[in-house]
Structures are given as structure tokens and as C-alpha cells.
Symmetry: C3
């Protein structure tokens, strides 16, 4: 499995395992979670993506319980977690509305909580989950710099930021933001032409892609042209259709790290096939054309 250096001392596996639905599995016991982690590690997938809010603020603790008695697993993993969304659920159920909090007090408290729940003393990569229109770049930037300086996180980044959000925050920071985790897939391909990926390429930053299968929609009915195109190339190369959609992202020069979430062990194994796909230019554009619904201009 290819590895990507996001900053000095921080490498992620090119494919990242997403823990968004970890709590949805029937079995969330430490043993079962450890099995999933092992299945990933066997494929060379060493990076795991989570967020404080996943599972209504409960998923980090599920992962933490599995890691508590398995320090040898933790040592082989990179954990990416996120903060800043306050949704009126769980411990925040009294809040009037969903909102974002990028204040230093919240960032610091959220980081401490994530460390505690994850039973670890360091987050490998800590992200702001959503751009906050109320963000004070100086205060937020300092809070992120301090998180790095404290040794509690190895690096910081963002998620769902537009280039202007990135530039504003970065302009007030000492450390480099090392990634932007955004939605990219054959269903949400606009970042490839609207300047979002071009901006990150120019900055030399590798993006992470959430929902690289369009939340599964790419593979469901209702996208017939897309389904057929994926199936066609899947048969040609002897892989699953979803693997073709991931290979489509891997072929882009922006060095996209797809975040793949599945609770099925066998599917985790399947995704390593993405590197075997023959994603030449003609194949790439055939899929892009199916995604656009018309040929390129």
C-alpha cells in the first residue's frame, strides 16, 4: 500500500479506513473492532478516520475501548479525528440549533475529550470539521498551533474548507495545515474543476476524500449510466464496481486519499485491488463522461 507524507513525521496510508459507521455494526465489542483494524493493517491501511460527533459523540469511545488493551495495534495506526460541530444530540441535546465552535476553549476541550475517549495520548491528525463563519482566524490558528506545540497532536488540518477558508486560517498560523478532507467522488466531482483541488495541488497539500463512493449512491440504482460504466470496467479488470470508483480518485494527480468506510471485513480487503485497476486516461474520462451525463466540451 502506497503511503503519503503529509508533513515531516506524519505518513498516512493512501487508503484511509473511515469509522463513521463503526457504531452501526451489530457487534461493537473490542474483539470485533480489533478484527476490523487487523483486516485494515493486513492491507497496509494504517490510517483511521473518526470525529468526535460520529455516532452522536459515541464512536470515539468504541474505538478507544478496542485500543485500550491493544497497544500494539495503536502503535501501528494513525488516528485522524475532528472537532467543531455542536449538534443538539447526546451531551449537547439542550442546544437550540446545530452550530460550529472554533473557539480556543472548545478546540482545547474537544481535543482533551478525544484523547480520553480514544485512550491515547496523541492524535496523529486533528481536523476542524466544518468551516465556521464565526471563526476568528487569529484565535483559532493559535489554538491549533498550541495543540501541535503541546505534543497532543502531531499535525492539524481541516475538512470541508473552501480555498478562501484555508487561506484565512493558514495566514494566521505557524504550522502548516496538512490536509483538507472534502467530499470527492464520481457523484461530487466538482472539486476537480472548480478550483478546490487546483488550490490544494498548488499548495502541495494532499486532500482526503470523504464519501468516495457517493455514500453508496454510485452503486445503487438510479444512476444507471454510472452503474453500467463501473460494472463494465469492473468486469474488464476483475474487481468490484466500488473499487473502480476508488481507482478513479487514485488516478488524479492531486494525490487524493480516499476514506472508505465499511463494516464488512471482506470489503476492506477488496479495496486494496484499487491499485491494480488500469485507470488510463480513456477509462478515466469514460467514467467522468458518465458522471457528467454528457461528453466534455
Amino acid at each position: 500500500m502506497e503511503r503519503v507524507e503529509l508533513s515531516v513525521g506524519l505518513e498516512l496510508s493512501r487508503i484511509v479506513y473511515g469509522l463513521w459507521r463503526l457504531g452501526d455494526d451489530e457487534d461493537t465489542s473490542p474483539a470485533r473492532v480489533q478484527k476490523k483494524i487487523e483486516a485494515c493493517l493486513e492491507q497496509g491501511i494504517t490510517s483511521f478516520d473518526i470525529a468526535d460527533i460520529y455516532g452522536g459523540y459515541t464512536t470515539e469511545a468504541i474505538l478507544g475501548k478496542a485500543l485500550k488493551d491493544a497497544p500494539e495495534l495503536r502503535a501501528r495506526m494513525e488516528i485522524v479525528t475532528k472537532c467543531d460541530i455542536i449538534a443538539p444530540i447526546g451531551k449537547y441535546s439542550g442546544r437550540a440549533v446545530k452550530y460550529y465552535d472554533t473557539s480556543p476553549a472548545h478546540i482545547s476541550a474537544s481535543l482533551e475529550r478525544s484523547l480520553r475517549k480514544l485512550k491515547t495520548d496523541r492524535i496523529d491528525l486533528f481536523l476542524l470539521h466544518r468551516p465556521d463563519p464565526l471563526m476568528d482566524p487569529v484565535e483559532t490558528g493559535r489554538a491549533l498551533d498550541e495543540a501541535v506545540a503541546s505534543g497532543k497532536v502531531r499535525a492539524v488540518g481541516v475538512s470541508n474548507f473552501k480555498p478562501h477558508d484555508w487561506e484565512l486560517l493558514q495566514s494566521a498560523m505557524e504550522n502548516r495545515l496538512v490536509t483538507n478532507q472534502i467530499e470527492i467522488s464520481l457523484l461530487t466531482h466538482q472539486p476537480m474543476t472548480n478550483g478546490e483541488l487546483a488550490f490544494l495541488q498548488r499548495e502541495g497539500v494532499a486532500p482526503m476524500a470523504w464519501s468516495p463512493l457517493g455514500g453508496g449512491a454510485l452503486l445503487s440504482s438510479g444512476h444507471n449510466r454510472m452503474n453500467e460504466a463501473l460494472k463494465h470496467f469492473a468486469e474488464r479488470d476483475g474487481v468490484e464496481a466500488g473499487v473502480i470508483a476508488v481507482a478513479w480518485l487514485l488516478a488524479h494527480p492531486a494525490c487524493i486519499l480516499p476514506v472508505i468506510g465499511t463494516n464488512k471485513l471482506e470489503r476492506i480487503r477488496a479495496f486494496a485491488d484499487a491499485f491494480k485497476v488500469n485507470m488510463d486516461r480513456e477509462t478515466w474520462y469514460a467514467l467522468y463522461t458518465a458522471a457528467l451525463g454528457h461528453e466534455v466540451p
Copy 2:
């Protein structure tokens, strides 16, 4: 009243009084206008926003008449005026269409006319009113620099400019543009997420906000969710609903200067209450959510 330093030697009051409708008052006598100015000054509102075109090119003269015999008022005020719109009314009624003129000849003639009508020998802040697709950045930039060099204006800025308009003009100037007066309100909140405010924050430029109450629409029927949210917080904090909408702008870290226009003396006084509102993050987002019509993603 908080004050904002836009450039060395030029401070505006955080709330600016807008004279857009000065001529619509039944009484436009110098005595009445002086009363309004005094009501503002009592609140610490020392900055007054006008434009050559207001009232069909007649409003500057109404203000000038009031200032003519009241130099002690003028000395305590900052006057912001604007140029570049040629509308086929008043002295321009022969023109075929409405257009913008950022030529040096027009800028210079417009400045001279504003000085004459306002009965003053210096404009505190002189703005281009609208971006002109025909603007020659070198010529227009030089004209603005010369206006500063002549001592006839203390500083220059723009209005309704997009970041690219700003960058083009600024790249050809010696003086810094010190503000961009744009529409921002709970009805027109897009600048908070589309990069317009982020750009100004990065440049270290405080924006002025025109129509901070959405031209009154925020308070009228037809915006029920918004009306209710404003009323709710107005009752909570014991202020007028419109004051909540202004406090919402003041809470943003971009340091927005709302331009408030009202011909009613009592309402001028009410707006100083905006600084007393408890605009915490949850309140801010409750209003933003009402403005969006749905919760944040």
C-alpha cells in the same frame, strides 16, 4: 461607542449613520438635519455615509446646507461619500442608460462637486460606488492616489467590489484601499461564506455593511421564521428586533461597520443598544439557521 481605525488618522464609529433617505424626510431644513447629526453624535455615531447619487444627486446639498453654518458639527464628523454611478436622472437625465464612470476626469470632477455641495474642504473617505467593467486599473488607481495626495480626501475605498475587483485596483495603487462597503445582513449573508469577508479579513480591511436590516425586509412580514427569531431574542435582551439584526453583524470577527439609515430620531438612539445584546455563538447560529431556512450541514 467602539471606534475602528481604517487607516492612520482615520477612525470611524463602529455604527455609521446612512443618509441614503435624508431627502425623503418631510423636513429637510438645516435645523432638522442638524438635530439628526446631534442625535447621532450623542450616541457616539460620528461617521456619516452618503453618495453623490443619493436623492437623484440632491442629498449631498441637503447635508451641506446643514453643515454650512455649523462648523462645530462638521469638526466632529467623518463624511464618507461615493462616486461613479451615472444614472439618467437629474443633471444626467439626457444619458441613454445608467452606467459607471471610473475615469480620472469623472472621479476628479465628482470629488470637486461633492466638496462644493457638502460645503467642506475635505472628504474623510471617498469610495468608488460600483465596480466598473470598463475600469482601467492604472488610470483609476492613479486618480484615487491623486485625490489622497491633494489632501481633498483622507482615504479612499470601494463599494460592492468582489475580491478580484479589489485586487485589480489595489495592484495599481500606492495608497491602501481602506474599506469595501458591501451588502451584508441576515438576508444577504452569502459574503460570510463565499469568500468576500474572508478576503477582507485576510487583507486586514474592515468592511462597511449597507442594508444591514435587508432594507427593512427582515422586519416585515414574509420572513416569518426570521421575524420570530429576531423577536425572540429582542424580548430576551430587551431591545428592538432590528437591533438584534445589527448585533448579529457586530459579532462577526470581520469587524463589520453597519450603515444604518433612519429618519426617526428615536431609532437612531435605539441602535446603540446593539452593543448590549448577548450575541453568543448559539444565538448567532440560531439567527443564521433562521436565515438559511435549514440547519447548518
Copy 3:
């Protein structure tokens, strides 16, 4: 005819002759093509725009045949050609879909083919035809730099690039990109306000405009307001309606080079009239207002 210096040693005529439809003429003999070139040269139009894909990859050869025995014509011309579109026609008819190829191998092969077909040993200006979402800026930039270093092209540029596409490619190159050929006309006037022209103005780059007459639509029925406005000013100034549309572009400070394609010799001559039009600010905005369908804000 005004001339524009795009880079040291490369000047184009302000009006460029477009050879898009060269192959559509009933007579494509060398003699007829030479007549067209001579008609252009008589007007001071020395720059000729073509692309590998025009006429289904056949038009370059038609021009080449006309130049083969007329080296004195070639010596007085600048040839602009383009590469990167692979359409499933002609030699590419076996391809599954239309796509773009900015790989060094394709750029280099396409350049060699263009030189061979055009019977020339140097392209004056070589453009990437479309932004390619799969472009690797480092590889593509190096390929363009090598094209310049080899002496086979005098300068390189792009077409249909957005500012972010430009910045990405330029950031990886030694040579300056010298133009961006984009669609601009009274029908497609958005580049004048969406930042595309502002970006090029800031970079000091003169754009070329394709379809300056909206592909003829400006002059056809269905655009009544536009037709009338063009006719009105055409009668005022004693020129053709299309000439007014071209003069509208020439008046913009971005220094736009319109690419005009017509197979009629008499129309080639007419366009030199564009410099005689009285395109003052009021006329410019009257046309812009007709294009918008409403007055400016």
C-alpha cells in the same frame, strides 16, 4: 492595425483571423486560401488561429498546403495552434469518449504533427485547448517549457482556462503563459465581471476572444434587443453590425484580441472598421445593458 506584444519577440495583430471553418468553404484550394491570407494581411491582420482538431483534424493540412509554395506569406504571418482534445473522429475514431490529453507524450506528438501538417518549422504560439482535470502541472509545464526550449514554438499559452487552472500550470513553469483564449462576446460577457478578465489584467496578459460574435447568434433573430442596439450604432457610425460587437471588445482595457472567422473576403475587410467606431462609455454601456437585459444595478 494595432499590434500587441504577448512576449519578447512575439507580436500579434489586435484582430486575429480564425480558421475554424476554413474547411467548410466550397473551395479549399491553396489559391483560395492564399487569397484569404492576403486579404487579411492587407488589413494588417497577420495572426491566424487554428487547432489540430479543427475540421476533424483536417484543417491544419489545408492551411499547410496553401503555405507550402508561399513562404513569403508564411514569413508575414503568426500561426497560433492548439492541442489536447482527443475526439472520437478521424484518426481517433476508435476512442470510447472525447477526452483531453495534456501528457508530455501527447503534447510533443501533437506539436510534431502540427508542424508537419502546417509545413512550417515553428509555431508562433502553441496553446493547450482545454483545461484537463487530469493535468499533472509539473509534467505538463515541463512539456510546454521544452517545446519553447526546442525552438519549435515561440511561446505557449492556454485556452478556456479558469484563473485557478492558469495559476496551477504557471506555478510549475519557467516560461510565462502568454495568453488565454476564452469565449468573450456580448452574449458571453461574464468574464468581464466574474474575475476572469480581472485576473488576466492583473497578470498583464492579453486574452484572445473566441466567438466574439457569439457564433453569429448576436446578429441573428432571437436577440431582438441586442440586434436593435447593434443596428442603431452601426447606422450611427456607418459600419456593419458585427463590427460594433467587435469594437465593444476592443474598448475593454484588458486588451482583448478578437478571433474572427469568416470565409467571405469582403467581411474580412469590414472588420478593420472596428477601430473607427466611437465606442465611448455611454455606447459601451448601452450595448452591455442590452446584453444584460436590464440596466446595471
